[in-house]
């Protein structure tokens, strides 16, 4: 799959999906006008890519400053998808990088990770 790089805007995060190396990054703020328009295809591509993989190591990094509730729904689905891929034999590492002065982001990371059964999850403080 062709790598996807999208620059951040005021309302959408930087996207860096490197399918060749299996590293995926979402970085910045996310409150797009239409979450489905922004995330739909990206997540669709990621899903087909993960399904076709065999025993690879996948790293997904979330480095988000702020996201709205519609984005939160998308992220929850993304966590489920990544965990399912880990259940199907991939080694999946999810990193949640948050601003140390923002404990809401820390809590949200913990809450998203609560239901993970197969993927490895780690949290890191962002230096500001």
């Amino acid at each position: 799959m062709e790598n996807i790089k999208i620059e951040a805007t005021d309302r959408s995060p930087e996207v860096d999906f490197d399918f060749a190396n299996n590293t995926f990054v979402l970085r910045g703020e996310s409150y797009p006008e239409d979450v489905t328009a922004f995330y739909g295809e990206l997540i669709g591509n990621l899903e087909s890519h993960l399904e076709a993989l065999d025993g690879a190591e996948v790293q997904f990094t979330f480095e988000l400053i702020y996201f709205n509730s519609s984005t939160a729904k998308v992220l929850m689905g993304l966590f489920d998808m990544l965990d399912e891929a880990a259940g199907d034999g991939l080694s999946v590492v999810i990193s949640w990088i948050y601003d140390e002065e923002d404990d809401t982001m820390e809590e949200l990371g913990e809450e998203f990770a609560e239901d993970l059964e197969n993927a490895t999850f780690n949290m890191k403080k962002m230096q500001t």
Binding site: D10, S69, K73, E111
Partner: protein, 184 residues
Amino acid sequence: MLASDMFEFRKKLQSEGIVFVYSGYVTEPVLTGIGEALKQKLVLEATDKKTMRNVFAIFVEEMQNIIRYSAERESVSDANEDVDLRYGVLNIGMENQKFYIKCGNMVMKADVPRLSSRLGDLQRLDQDEIKKLYKEKLRGPTEQTSKGAGVGFVEIARRSSEIIDFDFMDVDDSHSFFCLKAYV
């Protein structure tokens, strides 16, 4: 006269601690523009980051709530697209050293009992219960099907430092005016 009228209006707003007020059609570009100005203002006030993000987050949810659900609407069509304009009012102010974000818009009278009962339920929850409900909503059906009191209101409640306040007022046979106020 013109200047003094407007100056008095401004003075009244300021005396009520209002930092910012918008009344009119709310569109996504309006949200973007005001959002940027609000962020800069919050930085200038040297607000701590947590407060800043909570004010901003509640502002976004309230504005998007107006955009999606205000029952006072007008459709404008041009060659390329149909634009649905929704009317609402939002203000941000300070009260007892706390920021508040207050919004108002028309709703259909028929929706009042459902909205009122869901927001009332939300008022009775403590922070742990709100977080639990938030997650349930994230896993639940999407906004379109759970119109009103979806995850947006729960997001507002979780980022508020006090119990959210809301009210309804009858306007005519089919409409009520809805107001929601949250403190950070």
